[in-house]
């Protein structure tokens, strides 16, 4: 029987190749779909965990916030930022506040007024925790800050509230523009005094002005009237306008999957988060634009996989049935020559199943190699068992098809099949 089957397999190359190629192609194709899906999922996960999403809290209205004649720039309560920081969703939070100083006057190192002529008005004092980020957000902030000897960027992260100068007067570090520094003809170690209108009280209203001494720790090449203070110092200096004028929240990329949850949490906090109604603007286009087509692709492949698998099983059974039916006459001759029905069925099945089996083994090997080449070892290893399962299912399907057809073939009267119809 073996010799007979082998001769038929080798001498009907078209039929055998069809079985072999189809089996191999389906195994490789199915593996390709799985590998592509996993690769896309990995890429998607990488995008999720590396793409930075930020949200900025802004006023709903562009109208300035004024109270009793004073314009306030800050409108986001620090408390909302503290609450958000506690949610665990954020990897970073940039806050910035600003207030207006009526004047700046140069003092000497001992705190004495050098000359009234060294006075400028209408200066904005900014508070920030990160000088570099401050400069990124302000087009007029110029280039890098030049720190004086003994000072560096860390000045913005320190607390200066208990710091005192040598003569015990409370002073705070500040970075001023190079132009202002030159205009006031300052030298290293000189101080500045700022006068800030911080409150209005009484009837008729009366402005209270606080005076703060600043020590210049560096200069920036930006706008003339821009003075930058560490946020901790600013809070002390600004008094009654401690609210933030700019809040940019950076969501921890590891939490990007839970972005919707974060949106809900934030939207719950927003109504109580500002002096005026505020809203959150999300800068997540990069994530959405990259992820949406990938997610569509993954969904498509996840749909395509079971469809292709089902199709492969139908084709396996269908081809087996079809090729077995084409062998009806051969089955009849085998029967007439004295083969039992069981032996005929075995011959018909083996003729179709053996090439299919070879194709499956070859396809399986190619698929496994492909998985190992295209995927990390862990992912590839996870695909081996399902691949084996698919191979088994295909084989079972082909065997079932061949068995059903061969049973049908051998049930017919051989003479009916072999006689010339009159």
């Amino acid at each position: 029987m073996g010799r007979y089957v082998l001769r038929h397999i080798l001498r009907a190359p078209g039929k055998s190749l069809l079985c072999l190629v189809l089996a191999g192609a389906f195994m490789v194709g199915l593996m390709l779909i799985r590998v592509s899906t996993i690769r896309s999922e990995n890429e998607l996960e990488h995008l999720y965990t590396t793409t930075t999403v930020t949200a900025e809290l802004i006023k709903n209205s562009l109208a300035p916030i004024t109270r009793k004649g004073i314009t306030y720039t800050g409108y986001v309560y620090p408390s909302i930022v503290d609450d958000l920081a506690g949610t665990g969703f954020l990897s970073h939070c940039y806050v910035e506040a600003a207030t207006q100083a009526d004047y700046l006057i140069r003092l000497d190192a001992r705190g004495g007024v050098v000359d009234d002529r060294y006075t400028v008005g209408d200066v904005t004092l900014y508070g920030a925790e990160y000088s570099q980020e401050f400069q990124e957000h302000h087009a007029d902030a110029g280039g890098e800050i030049t720190y004086f000897d003994g000072w560096d960027e860390s000045v913005f992260l320190q607390s200066w509230n208990d710091w005192q100068s040598e003569d015990t007067a409370k002073v705070y570090p500040a970075v001023v523009s190079q132009k202002l520094y030159e205009t006031l003809q300052m030298e290293e170690g000189d101080l500045l005094r700022a006068g800030i209108a911080v409150d209005i009280s009484g009837e008729p209203p009366k402005t209270t002005r606080v005076v703060t001494n600043l020590t210049v720790v560096g200069t920036h090449p930006g706008s003339f009237n821009m003075v930058l203070l560490p946020m901790e110092s600013y809070r002390e200096v600004a008094g009654t306008d401690p609210n933030y004028q700019r809040v940019i929240l950076t969501i921890d990329p590891a939490k990007n999957h839970q972005l919707d949850e974060f949106r809900v949490r934030l939207s719950d906090l927003l109504p109580e988060g500002g002096v005026v109604p505020i809203t959150a603007v999300y800068w997540d286009q990069e994530l959405r634009q990259a992820i949406a087509p990938m997610e569509q692709g993954i969904t498509l492949m996840k749909t395509l996989y079971p469809v292709t698998l089902a199709l492969s099983l139908i084709v396996a059974a269908g081809i087996s049935i079809l090729l077995s039916l084409l062998s009806a006459k051969e089955a009849a001759i085998l029967r007439v020559l004295g083969n039992s029905k069981a032996r005929c069925r075995a011959i018909l099945c083996l003729q179709n199943i053996l090439p299919c089996f070879v194709g499956l083994v070859a396809g399986h090997l190619v698929a496994v190699v492909m998985a190992h080449v295209m995927l990390p070892t862990g992912d590839a290893a996870g695909l081996l068992l399902p691949a084996l399962g698919r191979t088994g299912l295909y084989l079972i399907s082909a065997v079932l098809g061949a068995a059903v057809a061969s049973v049908a073939m051998t049930a017919k009267d051989p003479l009916e099949l072999l006689q010339v119809k009159e």
């Binding site: 001769r7 020559l337 003479l415 006689q419 010339v420």
Partner: protein, 221 residues
């Protein structure tokens, strides 16, 4: 001497009430050619199917060399005792002439060398030269294919050769050659040849003639 006898055989189709064979009785002798003639649908094929061991009668018995076929394994009977020759030759298209003739012997477990030697002998006997042994059936003429089919039918050592319209696909000369070959096998090599045919020439050349009509067989000669 009778080698194959049919005793009061009836056959009723599994579906329907019609009797395909109705009390058929006949005897086929070794060394003689018997022809079974009759119109289409008269029951000739059913009788052939029962004689070939492809079906069992509903009633009656078929006796081969004194043994009732009802007690015999029909697969083994077809392998060893009886062979069928068809109008359309029915050779395996993917096996060569030699392999086709060897197949019945391989089925009986003969060694390949031994089978080839005997197949060569049979092919020579039916007039197929050695140059054609490695050819596939499609590369032979109809007459040659039928002679290969006859050689295959003798390969198993069966003494009963059943032929179903063996000349139906052949021209006049090839028909005559095939009939002559079958007669020679019967008369010279003691085969029992039973031919189911429409061809009056075959009936004329046969030693015994049976006529089948509506499932009833009568001996004409």
């Amino acid at each position: 001497m009778s080698i194959l006898s049919v005793n009061n055989v009836s056959y009723r189709y599994k579906k329907g009430d019609r009797m395909a064979l109705n009390g058929v009785t006949c005897e086929f002798e070794a060394g003689k050619v018997a022809a079974v003639v009759g119109p289409s649908g008269s029951g000739k094929t059913t009788l052939l199917s029962i004689l070939a061991g492809l079906d069992r009668p509903s009633a009656g018995s078929v006796i081969l060399n004194g043994a009732d076929l009802s007690a015999k394994d029909l697969d083994q009977y077809r392998r060893e005792d009886v062979s069928v020759i068809f109008q359309a030759f029915q050779l395996f298209p993917l096996l060569t002439v030699m392999e086709n003739v060897c197949y019945p012997m391989e089925l009986l477990g003969a060694a390949q060398k031994e089978a080839k030697a005997k197949a060569g002998e049979l092919l020579r006997k039916v007039g197929i030269g050695e140059e054609k042994w490695k050819r596939y059936p499609a590369n032979l003429s109809g007459g040659e294919q039928q002679r290969v089919a006859i050689a295959r039918s003798m390969a198993s050592g069966a003494q009963v050769l059943l032929a179903d319209e063996p000349t139906g696909n052949l021209d006049g000369e090839n028909s005559r050659n095939v009939v002559a070959l079958l007669s020679r096998l019967a008369h010279e090599e003691n085969y029992c040849v039973v031919i189911v045919t429409h061809d009056p020439a075959i009936a004329d050349a046969s030693d015994t003639v049976y006529r089948m009509a509506d499932g009833v067989l009568t001996r004409e000669r």
